[in-house]
C-alpha cells in the first residue's frame, strides 16, 4: 500500500513538475492568461470584502424614534409634549433636545460659530427622541407608535432608526445579489479562459498526444498534465486576485479613514478574511480544473480512433 502510494505520488509529482516546467517556458502567454483570470476573480472578491465591511459598520444599537416638531412650536409646549409622550404606553424614555440646545451643540461641533451668529432665527426645530420599550420593538408595534406620534398637530415628522437600518439592509441585499450574479458570470468567464487556453495547448501538442495514445496511454494519462495546467492557472489567478484586492485596500485605506473622521467615527477597511481567501483559492483551483477538464475531454475525444 505504501509502495503504491509512493508510486502514485511519483507519477503525479512527475506530471506536476513537467507541467510547471512547460508553463514557465511559455512565460508571457501563461502570465497573460492568469492575469485575466486573476482580474475576473478579483471583482467578486472585492465586492464580498466591500459587503462585509459595510455590514459590519457600527449601527446605532437599539431602535430610537426621533420626533421633529414644527418650527413654530415653543420650547414650553415641547416640554409638555415630551411629558405626555413619556406617560404613553410602550415608551421607555424620552429626551427633549430643544432648538437652542441643538444649535449650541452644532455650533460647538461644526466650528461655524461666526456664520451662525449671523442668523437672526434659530433654524433648528425642537426634537424629542424616544426609546421604545424593548417589548414594543416589533415592526408592527413600532408602526403603531409612529402613528400615535404623527397625529399630534405640533409634530412635523417622525423618523425611526429602523428606517435607516432597513434602507442599509436593502442596499446590502442588493449588493449581495449583485455579488452572486457577478461571481457566477465571472466564474463562467474563468472556465472559458482556461478552456480556450487548454484547447490551444492540446492543439499544439497533438502529435505528442497521438503518439502517447498509440503506445497505450489512457485518456486519464493524457489528460493529467492538462488538468494540472488548469489547476495551476486557477491557483495563480486566485493569488493574483488576492494581491489586486489587497493592493486596492491599501490604496483606499487613507481616504476611508479621512471619510470616517469627517463623520466623527472610526472607519477601517478590513481585508479578505481567512475563510474568504480559502474560498477564493478553492474557487480558482476548481474553476481551473473544470475548464481544463471540459476542454481536454472535448478535444481528446477527437483524437480517438474513429468508429466504423
Amino acid at each position: 500500500m505504501g509502495a503504491r502510494l509512493a508510486h502514485w505520488l511519483t507519477r503525479h509529482g512527475h506530471a506536476l513538475v513537467a507541467t510547471a516546467g512547460h508553463l514557465s517556458r511559455q512565460r508571457t502567454a501563461t502570465l497573460l492568461t492568469v492575469l485575466v483570470m486573476g482580474l475576473a476573480l478579483a471583482l467578486p472578491l472585492a465586492l464580498q470584502v466591500l459587503v462585509r465591511n459595510v455590514s459590519s459598520l457600527d449601527l446605532p444599537s437599539g431602535i430610537g424614534v426621533s420626533v421633529y416638531l414644527k418650527p413654530e412650536v415653543s420650547e414650553a409646549r415641547a416640554r409638555t409634549l415630551a411629558a405626555t409622550f413619556a406617560a404613553h404606553a410602550g415608551i421607555a424614555s424620552v429626551t427633549l433636545i430643544t432648538a437652542s440646545q441643538a444649535l449650541a451643540q452644532f455650533r460647538a461641533q461644526s466650528g461655524l460659530g461666526a456664520a451662525l451668529d449671523a442668523l437672526t432665527d434659530n433654524p433648528l426645530p425642537n426634537v424629542i427622541t424616544i426609546s421604545p420599550e424593548p417589548r414594543t420593538a416589533s415592526p408592527a408595534q413600532l408602526e403603531a407608535l409612529r402613528g400615535y406620534l404623527a397625529v399630534w398637530p405640533e409634530v412635523d415628522s417622525v423618523q425611526t432608526d429602523a428606517d435607516w437600518a432597513r434602507r442599509l439592509g436593502a442596499w446590502l441585499d442588493l449588493l449581495r445579489r449583485a455579488l452572486l450574479v457577478t461571481a457566477a458570470l465571472l466564474a463562467l468567464g474563468v472556465v472559458a479562459i482556461v478552456g480556450n487556453t487548454i484547447r490551444l495547448e492540446i492543439h499544439a501538442r497533438r502529435a505528442e498526444i497521438e503518439v502517447t495514445k498509440l503506445v497505450g496511454g489512457s485518456n486519464a494519462f493524457v489528460r493529467r498534465p492538462f488538468l494540472y495546467t488548469g489547476v495551476l492557472y486557477g491557483l495563480c489567478a486566485a493569488l493574483i486576485a488576492w494581491a489586486i484586492v489587497e493592493g486596492a485596500r491599501l490604496g483606499l485605506m487613507g481616504p476611508v479613514r479621512r471619510l470616517g473622521d469627517a463623520y466623527g467615527s472610526r472607519l477601517a477597511l478590513a481585508g479578505p478574511s481567512v475563510r474568504e481567501l480559502g474560498a477564493l483559492l478553492l474557487a480558482g483551483v476548481l474553476l481551473g480544473w473544470l475548464g481544463a477538464w471540459i476542454a481536454s475531454t472535448r478535444q481528446l475525444s477527437r483524437i480517438e480512433p474513429r468508429p466504423a
Partner: protein, 236 residues
Amino acid sequence: MIVFERVAKRYPQGREALSLLSFGLARGEMAFLTGRSGAGKSTVLKLIALLERPTRGQVLIDGQDTHRLPARRIPQFRRQIGVVFQDHRLLMDRPVFDNVALPLIVADASLREIDRRVRAALDQVGLLGCERAAPYELSVGEQQRVGIARAIVSKPPLLIADEPTGNLDAALAAEVMGLFRRFNEVGVTVLVATHDLPLVRDSGLREIRLGEGQLGAEASHELIAAPGAGLGAQPG
C-alpha cells in the same frame, strides 16, 4: 495472432480502402504486407492498432475481437502491440530516453524498471549511449532505430511496422530488417508493410499481397487479397 475475416473498410469520404480482406498470421510468425500505394497497407495496420475500426468483417488480435473491445480497454490493448512508422513519429523536443520510455511511462512502470528497459531496448538497436541526445541530432537511420526501440521497449508480443525502410538506403534498410528478424527469432510476431519488393524476396518470408491480384506469384509464400474477391488466407 492476427486474423482478418472478410474485412472491409470504407472511409467517411467514400473511399474504399479495403474490401473483403481475409488473412491470418500465426503467433511467432513474420510476414510482409505488400501492394501498390493505396492498396490499403496502412489501413490494415491501423485496423490492427485500433486506430480505425472496420466497416465490415472481423479483426481478431490474439483471439480478441477488436470490434467488441470497449473504448476504455483500448489503451491496455495497444500496449500489446509495438508500432513502427515510416516517419518514426518521435517527439522532437524530447531526448531519446524520454521517447523510448513513453510506452513504459503510460503503463506505470517504476522508474528503475524504465531505466533498465530503455537501456536494454537502445542496446538492441545499437544506440546505447544516445539517451540524452535530441532526435534531430541523430541521422535518419538512427531516428528510425529510436522508433523501433520505442516499439519494442515494453516487449509486446506483436510488432507492426509501416514502411520502416521507406526513407532509408539499401544498407540501412537491410540493417533495420535484420533487427525485425532478430525480434522474430525471440518469439515476437512481426508484420511489416513495405513496397521494397527486393527486400521481401531476399528475406524468403511470407508475403501478404494487397491489390488487384494480378501481380504475379514470385514470392514463395504468396497470398492475394483482391477487392471484392473475398480471397482468404492460404499460406504456403
